[in-house]
Each structure stands twice: as C-alpha cells, then as structure tokens.
Amino acid sequence: MKKKVVSLLLVAAMVTSMGCGSKDSGSANADSGNANAGAGSETPATESSEAGGDAAEAPSDVEKPEEITIMVDGTVFTQENGQAEFIAKLEELTGIKINVTQPDHDAYYDVVGQTIASGEWPDVMILSSTYYSGYASEGVLWDMTEAYENSDLKARQDAYGSTSVIDGVRLDGKLYGMPATRGNGCVTYVKQAWLDACGLQAPTNYEEYLAMLEAFTTGDPDGDGTNGNTYGVSAAGFVGTEAPYINYLPEFYQDANPSFYLADDGTWKDGFTEDSMKAALTRMNEAYKAGVIDPTTLTNGTADCRNKFYDDSFGVFTYWAGTWATNLKTNLEKNDLNGELVALAPIAEVGTYLDRIPPVWCITSTCENPEGVFKYFIETMQDGGDTQFLWTYGVEGVHWSTAGETLFAGTENEKVYEEGTFHMLENKESEGTQYTKAHIDPMLALVELADDPLAVEPEAKASAELFNANCVTADLVPSTDAMTEFNGDLTTLKNTLIANVVMGEKTIEEAYAQFEAEGAQWSQSIVDSLNAQ
C-alpha cells in the first residue's frame, strides 16, 4: 500500500518535473502560437494604416496575392468530386495559386479551433455564424467593411436585392466575413394527393391549417381503407436546436420566438416570456392532445421524419426549401406514391418564413495582403460572370456539360440530353445521382449570374422562389458574458418546459411558475447584457 502511494507520488512528481523540464518546448509552442497571434493582432493595425494610405493615394492599386491558403468545409467539392480540376480552373481564372485544406465536414470546427491554436492560420476560411462572431470579437478576422463599401461587389449585391443578407452578418455595423449565398430556411410541404383525397385546398390561415391536419389524422388521406392511421404533421422535436428555433413547426409558433430577438423598438427581448409564446404553447398542446401532431415528435430524428413522410405516415412536413423539394418528391415516387407536393406560402398568422444566417468567407488577420485577397478572391466569387459560374456549377466536363449524351442509360432514371443542353453530370461518389451545384446554390445566389442556365428541377426552383419571396433574415444574436454564462441552462430549461407543456405533463401556469422561479433571472441578465451593448 505504502509502496503504491510512493510510486503514485513518483509519477505525479514525474509529470510535474516534466512540466518544468519541457516547459521550454511547451511554452515555446504556446509562444510560437502567441507570436503569430500577437503578430495577428498587430497586423490589422499596420495593414489598415497601410490600406488607408493606399486608399488615399491610389484606390484601385491593390496588389494581387500570388498564393493563398484556404480552409473549407464539405460545401466545396471534395477531392473525390473533382476538387483538383475545380481549383485548377479557379487558379486560371483568378491568377492566384490556391492551397486548400478541407477537414472532414463533421469535425470542421474542431479542426479550425486546433489550427487557430497552432498559430498557422490560413488566409481564408469558411465560418458559421457562431464561430464568425466569436472569432471576430477575438481579433482573428480581418475587418473587410472598408474594402466592401468601396467595392463593385456591393453594387452588384445591392442591385440583386441582397443588401439585407449582408446587413444580417454585420457585427456592430462591421463586416468580417462575406456570405456566398443566402442562408436558406424551411417551407411547409403538403402532399397534394392527401389534399385531393380529403377534398381540401391548400390552407391560407391557421384555422384551415388545423382543419387540414384534423382531416389528415382522422380521415383516410392515404387511401389504404383505414381511418385514423395517419398523422397531420411531424417534426424532429418540438423546438429546434439552432436558430431559428421554430423552423420545423412554424404554423404553431406563428409570431412567437422562444429565444432572444431584437424588437421593433430596438431593444432585445426574451420571446419566451411573452404572451405570444404562451399562445403558441397552448396551440401545440391542443394539437398534440387531439393527435394531429405525431406522438413521437419528441424522439424523432430528421431522418426518422423523412422516412415517415416517404411511407405516408403523415402529410405535412416543414423542411428545407430548394433542392430538398426534389429530393422529397423523388423518394415519395420510389415508394410508388404521388410525389406532388405543395410548397405552402406562409399562412396568414405566420406571415414570413425565416432565413438562417448564412456561413461566411472570412479573411484572417494574419493574412499578408487582405485587400488583395478580398478583391481577387472573395469578390470574384460573386462576379456575376465566369468565376461565379465556376463556383456555382463547377468545371465543364467534370461537373457539367453541354454535350449530347445519355445519363444513367438503361435505368428507370435515364436522361437524354441533346447537344447544347446544359446539364449536370453524374456524381462520382453517389452512383445514379447528379451534381446539383458547386459551392453556390444558384437559387440562393446574392448576385445575378449572367447566362445562368439555372439547371434545377422545377419543384426545387418553385419552392426556393416561394421561400425567397416570403422570408426575413433571422437576427444574429451577439455573444455576451451573461449569454455565455447562463444561456446553456436557460435553453435547457425552456426546452424542457416546452416539451412538458406540449405533452400535457404541466399546465402553462405551472411551467411559467417554474420558469419564474428558476430561469427568469438568467433571462433578465442576458437581456440586460444585450441591451447594454
């Protein structure tokens, strides 16, 4: 026993002594990281003063960078899908040598974090809104406001009506990243065959919507001869895990917002405490009790929902606009069902759908020539011409073609293209499927693309257009200390209360009494911190 303790102590001593002994290497590591980070925090100052000088002397005289390193997620072509050809073509068009680092899509932000910590930053990287605002506030990202305001890109985006999307990613008026597309969001799809079977029209308000759900639940919309073996609507959980949280059941939430939002009067509020939220909870509870919402909504995953939709278990599904419309249709048809879906315009009480905050392309503050990278890399991505075409559809002969040919010959999916017809080619990783886009989804572009073949399926185009015509961008909620401190527990509490109320385990009064007792103070301090900014 004693021996054991002694040897344990020895081990501990070894660790600490190693801590001292190799402290040099350890701290050297940290130092090299910090040296870079230090340089990083200095660079923008010097750079921007230079930039200021440049701008004053010769505004258009921005040097083109020779070589840049970019870090991208799986939304850019992978190596298996012709990344080499894509980059070669991009290098040819931009005249910049481009080195790509593309970590696995799932672990992208872990690898970004590690790379930032190692001190060897890429020049450009794609970031989601959370990491974007976090890194911007830590000085990792180059402030591109000035470069953007004077650019042609701004003019092109404004002309295409994309101003609000760019404004949506501003932090305190400043721009640290450039979205390549809109964020996209969800629309409500209804099975046309089910509407026909029940003799209904597409609903335009909540009353009609609810009546439709009831007809779908109690009637026999799938025509299998049994009444009541179907549900109206299903979703992956009663509340989403990411903003906008109401994405999957918007008709019940309507104007309610379970999280923080910027009210019309310019102050931040917690939507959970408001009457609109209580009304939404009442609606969901009643609908759940009536059985029109899938009883296993709580435990559904998104894939579960899709499978239930494909096997005709339910009829109304709020899901991504655009390409997914085609995807839902195809999968329904594979099950020998009618694939026709109505993409519902937001019902009167909903008003608008919500656009997510798009991921952005950022330039790091260690980049040696950020103005050049902005002008010759970021701007060209949305030049409305050849480079944007490349970012939208990829490389001719690899990702798309205009040759006369037959794809998927001999299968039920056979597609014959005449000479001169633009079409996407077969996906190298997934037999029997075509590419749908490169990085920029043509339906979500922020700048008009000249000679856009818009090679998308009609239903995808229809749902995207419907969505674009009926959406507002969700608020980018800034991060504050109080938020970091309390929002985790607060969100957990809110989500639990939502589930409890909807499933009838607690009444609204009980739930809000609990919220007052446990969460109200967190909510208040977050609201205060947001308003104090």
């Binding site: 660790v15 709580l298 970091t484 985790g488 527990d489 957990t492």
Partner: protein
C-alpha cells in the same frame, strides 16, 4: 516464497549494490519496457502538459492567462452541475455493473454449450450489436420503444394484456422509464462484446481442473461455481476497476438517447457541458473544458484507488495493474 524474498530484502543492508544487481538481473525487461515508455511519454505525458490550461483562460487564440481556480468555482456553482454529476455517477456505475454481470452470466452459460457450431453462431450474433453506431442504435430503438402501433414493445405489451392501447408507455420520453430503457439498450448493445474477454479467460482454464472436479464428484453446477466463476473473478475485477476510471466520460450513448423531456434523469456531465457550450454562442474556452476534464479525472482516480485497494484484499495484496 514471497515472504522469504521480502525478508531477505529487508535484512540486507547493503541494499544499494543489491538493487544494482537486481536491476542488472532485470535489464532485459527494462529494454522491453522502453518502447511502451516512449509511447506513453509522447502520446500521453507531453499532451498532459495541457492540464495547466485548467487554471487559465485560454481560447486557442490569445495567450493563456492564469485565473487560479476560477473555472472550478464556476463549475461547482453552475445550477445543474451537481444533478448532472450524480446522474453521471449513477447511470454509468449501474450500467457498468449491469453489462458486466450480464456478460459474465452469458459467458458462463455459453461455455456450457456443447455443440461448437451452435456456440459460434450464438457468440457471433450477440456480439454484432457492438458494431452499430450509437446514432443508428438510438433511431432503431426509438422506433421499437415508440408508444404507437409501430412500437414493437408496446404492441407486445398491449397484445399480452399488460397495457391497454391508451396507456402505452413512452419509454424514451418519460422520466420514469428512461433509465430503465437506457440500461436495457446498453445491455443489448455491449453484453456480447464484453463476453469476448470473458470467453477468452475461460479458454485459459486448465482442463485438468474440470477432470479433477469430475473425479471428486462435482456436478455441472459445482464446476460452474467452484471452477468457472472463480477463474473469471480476476478478469471481472480488472474490467470493472479499469472502467471506473472512465465512468465520468459517459457521453455518446446518453446524448443520442436523451431528449428535452427526460433531461432531469439523463443529463450527464458531458452532455451538460456540451449544451452549455453549444448554446452559449461563444467560441469554447479550452481552459474551462480542461478544468472539467481534470475534475472528471480526479473523480475517476478516487474511484480507481478505492476499488483497487478493495481488490487487493481479494488478490493477495496485488492491485489490478
């Protein structure tokens, strides 16, 4: 014999040369341990220098600043920390004992199957669930356990008259049933895999022992009780104590099976921290996560030391390592 050696070691005062001689005697073993030592230093001890971040604010960008015990204070003052802590301990310790017990019982009875082909088939089948990822497992079980006509278990219970069709149980969505269901799924998934190590141990039993027992008139139960089970004892102890070190790391299985309605019984430390970071809207503070990691390690360390000392009583003074 052991005592003898100890005595001689104590009685000899010229211990230094003795020690040198002993070390020389074992020189070949030191050489064999060298590669293990190098791997341990490079892949475990060098990164362990990062434990110092537990006492700093460090986000991977700016230099780490020393903050003392700030992260620990924050951790302990977090409103739901202690409930997550007890959830973790209860869920993973119960899970550990249940799956190990199940694996031991299955191994002992599997060992009694005479037909080798049947034995092989059974073994292969019960070990396969281990290779299904937790995400897939969760989605399959949320179907099987669903409170609808599609849920196999509820349908079975209704058909056998245990439940009525209005009183179906939402196994994964009801706080009263969640842990039970969780243990059940874990037993389903991991029992077979754990039997691999126990079956290998049983293969090492000297067959002479069974023969001798048979001569002594021991029956099947007697052999199982006096030979098979004691042979497994060491392995059982080792497996349990080694797993105690990792008790606080429970994450994936709880994460994929939990939902908003059952967090009070299912939120473990790792999932709690995950939601904290995920919902905070800020880039993670590695200082904080390292502090949480260090705390978990300390708990694991205490558990291992306690159980190791208990095991010494059974293992004639030797710990499990």
């Amino acid at each position: 014999m052991k005592n003898n050696k100890n005595q001689s070691a104590v009685s000899n005062n010229g211990s230094r040369s003795r020690l040198a001689a002993k070390i020389y005697k074992y020189r070949g073993f030191y050489l064999m341990f060298l590669p293990v030592f190098i791997f341990a230093v490079i892949f475990f001890y060098l990164p362990m220098l990062g434990i110092r971040f537990a006492f700093t604010d460090y986000n991977g960008i700016k230099e780490a600043t020393f903050v003392g015990l700030k992260h620990f204070q924050k951790m302990f003052s977090m409103p739901n920390f202690w409930s997550a802590f007890t959830n973790t301990l209860v869920i993973s310790v119960v899970k550990l004992f249940l799956t190990t017990a199940a694996a031991v019982v299955v191994s002992i009875f599997l060992n009694e199957i005479i037909n080798i082909h049947f034995k092989k088939v059974v073994q292969t089948i019960i070990y396969l669930p281990h290779f299904m990822s937790w995400v897939v497992t969760a989605s399959v079980f949320s179907l099987i356990m669903a409170p609808t006509a599609q849920g196999l278990v509820n349908t079975f219970l209704v058909n056998t008259g245990v439940l009525t069709s209005d009183s179906m149980i939402y196994f994964l969505g009801d706080s009263k049933w969640w842990r039970f269901t969780y243990y059940l799924i874990n037993i389903w998934k991991e029992t077979g895999w754990q039997t691999v190590i126990f079956m290998a141990t049983l293969a090492g039993i000297n067959t002479e022992l069974y023969e001798a027992a048979a001569i002594d008139g021991a029956g099947r139960w007697g052999k199982m009780r006096y030979i098979t089970f004691p042979a497994l004892q060491n392995t059982i102890l080792t497996v349990i104590i080694l797993n105690l070190a990792k008790v606080m790391n429970l994450f994936e299985s709880a994460f994929v099976l939990q939902n908003d309605a059952v967090l009070d019984v299912s939120n473990v430390l790792e999932t709690y921290i995950y939601y904290q970071t995920f919902n905070s809207g800020a880039i993670p503070n590695y200082g904080y996560t390292t502090a949480v990691g260090l705390f978990k390690s300390l708990v694991g360390c205490v558990l291992v030391l306690i159980c190791n000392n208990l095991s010494k009583k059974i293992r004639e003074g030797r710990g499990i390592v």
